[in-house]
Structure formats: structure tokens, C-alpha cells
Subunit: 341 residues, 2 copies
């Protein structure tokens, strides 16, 4: 490992030149602690004269500040299974949008490996995090809070009703929109492949589905489906649904990739989509758009959600108190899977 070409000015050099302690220099430069304005000004001037530039690594070590923002995907179990989340359109579009905002504000965006302990988190030396789809009482939020690091969630932690730093779509409204659309398309027995999780997104959707069924005097048909091995899990649940005597004539496949499993199950049973079975997705993806048939789905507009979350987090790391939560508009993408022509 070669060393930097020139020895860099250290915080100690600045302290010596300014005749103050290293702590005072640190506080003066990162705007923390109680330092009288005159001293702070002098320290800043000396630091500038010496060409002192705090290294991010040094900052990270000293005060947990690195300017880096972590983008954390949902924890759904083993690493091998968690990798699947990293391959989903929704999270990658969120990450891409967050990276664009961070990039413009000159903050690095970090995609970390699983964070399980305080050490894991300390070692990342990040300034804060965007956490996607927190579980109820997500332990990772507690870790960030223990280190005093701001965290913005996409969707809410149902165990933390007071945490208002989140971004989400109008999940209940979206589910009603989807149900009205599927019903208008001819769906009479509309089943829901719900996402078996404690995520607010899953809860909001299932709640709205049940409320809608009650209002429309329909019997809810809910199949909780695993968030691991999405396609296969959805295929299994869809098979169970389609082999029932009172077979549903419409299935709402909540999570990304669920629809693909449903289509497979329907095909094997000689059911045509949309003629014999209407299929709609709770979250859009390129797989849905490009599928055969293309699948009607809710587009949560992750590019807007990710940008809003990054802007919110950057503001928090810079000590502002921005407006929150932020509800991002969604879109219903109508495609062949619900169009009987």
C-alpha cells in the first residue's frame, strides 16, 4: 500500500498553530460542541492557511461523520435470500434515484452488506441511512439511533409511530384504485396474494383490501405469500388458490415477481389471462411491463421516492428540520392482464 505523496496537515498541526486543543479544532471545524465564535473563527482561519482538510476517514473515526449515506435494503433472512432484494427493480430504482441526489450534493452513497451489530455499523462510518421497508421494530433502526445517526425509511416502521422521517406511497389509496379497476374489468372473486411481512406497505395493502371487500360485500380471499424466492412462493400460493372449488377470477399479486408465479400457475391449468383470470400487481417492474402478458400494476414511482428520501436524509445530516413525512404519488399502469377486449 503506497502512502500519500505529500504528508498531509493533521488536526494536531492546526491545534498547535492555533494554540488550542485538538478537540477545540474538531468542534470548531465540524460546528459541534461549545466553542466561542472568536476561537472558532481563528481555528477556521488557521486551518485554511495550513491547507488542512479533514479526511473523511478521520472524521468517521472521530465523530462518526463521513458524508456517506447508506442505502439499506430490507432484511428478509439469510444473506443468500437478501441478495434477491438487491436484484429487484424497485430497490435498484430507489438506489439509483438516491445515488443521483447524493451525487449532486457530493455525498457518497453506500450499499452496505448486512448490518447486524453496532460494530458493523460503526465500521461503515456513515452519516445516516435510507432504510427500505423496515420490519416492525426493525433492529437496524435501533442501531442507528444508538449511534445518534439520522435514518429515513421508505415506508414506515409500524413499531415506531413517532418516527416521522419517512417517505411512502399512498398504499391504501393504491389498493382501492387497483381493486376498483379489477372489479370494473369483470373481477368478481378477487383474491390477494399478500406479502407475509410486518412491513407497513404489506399491512396498508391488506387492510385496504379487507376494507374494500367489506364495503363491496365480498368475501376476502387472502393468501399470505413469502418474500423469499418470490416467484416460486407466489406460484405455490396461486396453485392453491386456483385449485379451490370457488376459484377466484382475479388475483392481485402484491409483491414484485409474484405475478410471474401466478401466470405460470394459470398456464399450467389452461386458464387464459385475462379471459379466465385477471392478474394485477401491487408494484410495477420491468418484468411486469415486459411479461407475457404484460401485467397491470401500481407504479410507486421509486425514482421519486428515492430522490425524496435522499433529499430528506441529506437535510437531516446537515442539521436541518425538513418537512416530513413525504407521501409520493403513485400511478396505475393498465396493461393486457386486466383488459378483456
Amino acid at each position: 500500500m503506497s502512502r500519500p505523496a505529500a504528508p498531509r496537515v493533521t488536526i494536531r498541526d492546526v491545534a498547535a498553530a492555533a494554540g488550542v486543543s485538538v478537540t477545540t479544532v474538531s468542534h470548531s471545524l465540524n460546528g459541534k460542541g461549545a466553542v466561542d465564535p472568536a476561537t472558532r473563527a481563528r481555528v477556521k482561519q488557521v486551518a485554511a492557511q495550513l491547507g488542512y482538510r479533514a479526511s473523511r476517514a478521520a472524521q468517521a473515526l472521530r465523530a462518526g461523520r463521513s458524508g456517506t449515506i447508506a442505502f439499506v435494503i430490507p432484511s428478509v433472512g439469510a444473506v443468500a435470500e437478501e441478495r434477491e432484494m438487491l436484484s429487484l427493480d424497485y430497490y435498484m430504482q430507489l438506489a439509483s434515484a438516491a445515488a443521483r441526489v447524493a451525487f449532486t450534493r457530493r455525498h457518497p452513497l453506500l450499499l452496505p452488506p448486512p448490518i447486524e451489530t453496532l460494530d458493523d455499523l460503526r465500521e461503515l462510518g456513515v452519516d445516516g441511512a435510507i432504510l427500505c421497508d423496515p420490519a416492525r421494530d426493525d433492529p437496524r433502526i435501533a442501531l442507528f439511533e444508538e449511534l445518534g445517526l439520522p435514518i429515513v425509511t421508505i415506508e414506515r416502521d409500524l413499531g415506531r409511530p413517532d418516527h416521522r422521517w419517512y417517505v411512502e406511497g399512498d398504499n391504501r389509496g393504491n389498493m382501492r384504485l387497483l381493486l376498483d379497476h379489477v372489479a370494473a374489468a369483470g373481477g368478481r372473486r378477487i383474491a390477494l396474494l399478500s406479502a407475509d411481512s410486518t412491513w407497513s406497505w404489506s399491512a396498508d395493502n391488506e387492510q385496504a383490501y379487507r376494507a374494500w371487500c367489506e364495503e363491496h360485500e365480498r368475501t376476502p380471499i387472502v393468501e399470505p405469500t413469502s418474500l423469499r424466492h418470490l416467484e416460486t412462493s407466489a406460484y405455490d400460493r396461486a396453485c392453491a388458490l386456483l385449485d379451490r372449488p370457488d376459484r377466484p377470477d382475479a388475483i392481485i399479486a402484491l409483491a414484485e415477481r409474484y405475478a410471474t408465479g401466478v401466470v405460470r400457475a394459470a398456464r399450467e391449468r389452461g386458464l387464459r389471462i385475462p379471459q379466465d383470470l385477471l392478474v394485477a400487481g401491487g408494484i410495477d417492474s420491468h418484468q411486469a411491463a415486459e411479461g407475457d402478458p404484460p401485467i397491470t400494476a401500481i407504479d410507486l414511482q421509486p425514482e421519486l421516492q428515492g430522490a425524496a428520501a435522499a433529499a430528506l436524509l441529506v437535510a437531516l445530516t446537515e442539521g436541518e428540520r425538513p418537512e416530513a413525512p413525504r407521501i409520493v404519488p403513485s400511478r396505475l399502469r393498465v396493461r393486457a392482464s386486466t383488459q378483456r377486449t
Copy 2:
């Protein structure tokens, strides 16, 4: 900023307990420097007993090692324009694949802001980088080399013929495949919207295009197109091409989003695709797949390229000497834009 709950075991504690120098501990634990095996083993044992865990930030500060891998997008000018790169399917799919590999190997993947100086790079405290589409003599590679950090490029730096740590597709073969396909589809005057850059990908494609034209005794029609504001730039160049007296009957739009600009220019002129004009893309994207019409394109399989680059870099950061370069297979995706039925 709250402090870590418990004081952590430091490298000094380990040095004291093992009766060796801090440097020896450092070298023993990160496998560097000359330490005799017995000492290395003892240090590791002591470190384990004390529950010592090197903090990534400390490592970054001490030796520029953080376990973090940077994923660096092409530099195409101002930050505002560079952001466009971060929104392209190709780079986001590369990043996603690299993140999955890094995640599994427990390395964080960093999407940094623009890297212009050694300080920028030092502050990131990364272990190495994957750099996409380097320009000829890309200055960022020099920065990494100055800090002795390994760098794997996706595509090659044409100014560094000796740098063999790269991953790429068979660009020349892909262009020939595309040209043969477009010619078989009826293209007689096949024009190329080339990407105006010093990237090896651009050079390989243009070279293969010219060679193919010569072999087939056709006059090459090349319109160098900017990599900034991709759609608009391609639209402008396509307008120029389509208003020529000897209007081409086929256009190969090399870069992502170019095809969209070509389609717009053709529409405005009442030209039908594929009947009056064949359109094909040099790189696939969801925009191409979902476009109206869907566009035939070369799929460089970024998910394979990104995984290969990450595996290569991780091996290098761990001191191995893996096989390189790695040529990743590509696929021709035939769609309506070149199918006259």
C-alpha cells in the same frame, strides 16, 4: 453525536498483549508486510481472544483499507450531465450486480460523487474501484494507481494497453452480428450514430462497423453523437441523416437512449419503423424493450459484466492474481424495429 456504548479493543491493546509493535499487528491481521508465520498466528490468536475487530474507518485511515469497493460511472463533463449516466439501465444493472457480489462477500459498495483529486479519493477511503467506460488515459485511474489501489475497468482504457484488469463484451463481434441482422432485414444504406467519446466500446464498435462496410462494399455513414443529453443529441443527428438526399434505410443507434431520438425524428418525417426505416441499438435497455416500437438491440448482459468485475476486484483487493481480462458473452435481442412482416 452519541459515542459508542462500550470502549472498543484497540490495535494497541492487541500489540501490548501480544508483545509486538502496532505495525506488526496491522501486518499480521491484514496479511501485509513481512511477519514470520508464528508471530502472525500468535497475533491473530490474541486479537481473537481480546475480541479485537479492526474498524473500517481506522483501517481506512491507517492504510487506506476499508473493505469498501467504489463503483465509478463514466465522467462525461459537468455533474449535472454526469447524473444522466446514473439513470441509465446499463450502469444501474452493472452496479446492482456488483453490489450483489460485494454484499455476499461482505464488502460495502460505494457510489461516490465525482472523483477529481487525490484528496477526493483519499477521503473515500476505499479499497479499490470498478470504473465504467474509462476515457483514454482516464485521469481517475492515475489517482487510484498513485494510492496503490487496484482498479478494474468495465471496457478498457485505450491509453493503458498493459492494464489487463478489465471486463468487456465482444464489441466487434456484436457490431458485426447487428449489421448482418440489419442487412438480412433489408437494410441497404445502414448508418451508424456512433458515440462521440474515447471509450474502447465506442472505438471497437465504429472500427467493426467500418470494417464490415468495407467487406460488404458499402459506403460507411457515421454520425458522431454526443454522450450528453442522449435522446436530444441522437434526435439532432438522426434529423441530419434523414434529411440527406441519400437517406439511410437503417440506423444503428449505438448508445442507450439514442434509439428514442431516432424514432422521434423518423415519426416527424412520416417514416414508418420498420417498413421505411430499420432501427437497432448498440446497447439494450428497458426503454428499448418497452418502446413503441420495441427496438432490436445488443444486450451486453450487464448483470454478468458487473458480477465479473466485482469478483475480479475483490480477488485483487485480497491479494490474489485472478485471470483477466474477462470477456462476457452478449445477446442480440431481436424486436419489431427490424422485423418487416
